[in-house]
């Protein structure tokens, strides 16, 4: 991986602290919600995770604004892919729910933002490779993708473990399933990279 650019270092500095605050709020404060009786306090606590997310969004906006023209194009492709997939899936889910084929809880809206961000990152990676740039070209903060995925898997595992008594069965299955997928994805990245390296050495 190339040396991180100042722009990406600034992004890491601005992205990770609010992200950690978000995780801490979700793990430590949000579970207190059922015990709060004051309506205003309930609203404040329910919306508290949005505050660090706004800082994450600010970091992302500053990353895009500081990028050059090709990087901005790659961001646009990533966003277009993510927006198309998420909006189409939401529409399909909405139709199925309206037809009473599936039952959707309002809390499913919580998953829209993380899904959008993950698909945006995947779309950006795809577009980046299309223009001949490697992994981390658009946001190389010096941390490999496999580590980021394993960190995500670890956070989901902690959330699932802490919420094992409060969460419904399907929610726990979803969290453990996502944890497994991210962990396997990280392993796959390592395996593909090792295979490529072996291929290069034999040439």
């Amino acid at each position: 991986m190339n040396k991180p650019r100042p722009l990406h270092q600034r992004y890491s500095r601005e992205f990770w602290p609010p992200m950690m605050v978000y995780v801490a709020v979700m793990l430590l404060l949000w579970p207190l919600l059922p015990r709060v009786h004051s309506e205003w306090l309930k609203v404040a606590l329910a919306l508290l995770p949005v505050l660090p997310v706004l800082f994450v969004v600010r970091a992302m906006v500053r990353l895009v604004l500081g990028s050059d023209e090709l990087e901005q194009r790659i961001h646009l492709i990533g966003l277009a892919i993510a927006a198309t997939l998420v909006s189409t899936a939401s529409l399909a889910g909405g139709f199925l729910a309206a037809a009473n084929i599936i039952k959707l809880d309002g809390s499913i809206l919580i998953w829209i933002w993380p899904t959008l961000v993950l698909l945006y990152a995947a779309g950006r990676g795809w577009a980046s490779r299309r223009y001949g740039a490697g992994e981390g070209a658009i946001c190389n903060n010096g941390v490999g993708w496999h580590w980021r995925l394993w960190l995500l898997a670890a956070v989901l595992a902690v959330v699932a473990w802490l919420g094992r008594d409060q969460l419904a069965g399907y929610q726990l299955d979803l969290l453990w399933g996502m944890c497994g997928v991210y962990a396997a994805w990280g392993v796959l990245i390592i395996a593909v990279r090792r295979r490529r390296r072996l291929g290069d050495e034999t040439l």
């Binding site: 650019r5 050059d68 023209e69 090709l70 299309r130 223009y131 001949g132 740039a133 070209a137």
Partner: protein
């Protein structure tokens, strides 16, 4: 569109990172331009031409339609 950016950069003995710094873009953008995977905008193309002290049409050549 084809271009002679790689040859011109070689004449100056600049690395892709050196050129990227002079043009205030990323090294990946220089690589994408040199390999023909990305055609730069007009402002960036003029900036490249100005940096190498050549007319734009001697650096960027239209490809086959």
């Amino acid at each position: 569109m084809n271009n002679h950016v790689r040859e011109l950069r070689g004449e100056q003995s600049w690395s892709q990172a050196d050129l990227a710094e002079r043009l205030e873009v990323s090294r990946q953008t220089i690589n994408a331009i040199e390999t023909g995977k990305y055609d730069p905008s007009l402002p960036l193309a003029f900036k490249i031409a100005r940096l190498f002290g050549r007319p734009i049409e001697s650096i960027f050549v239209p490809g086959e339609e």
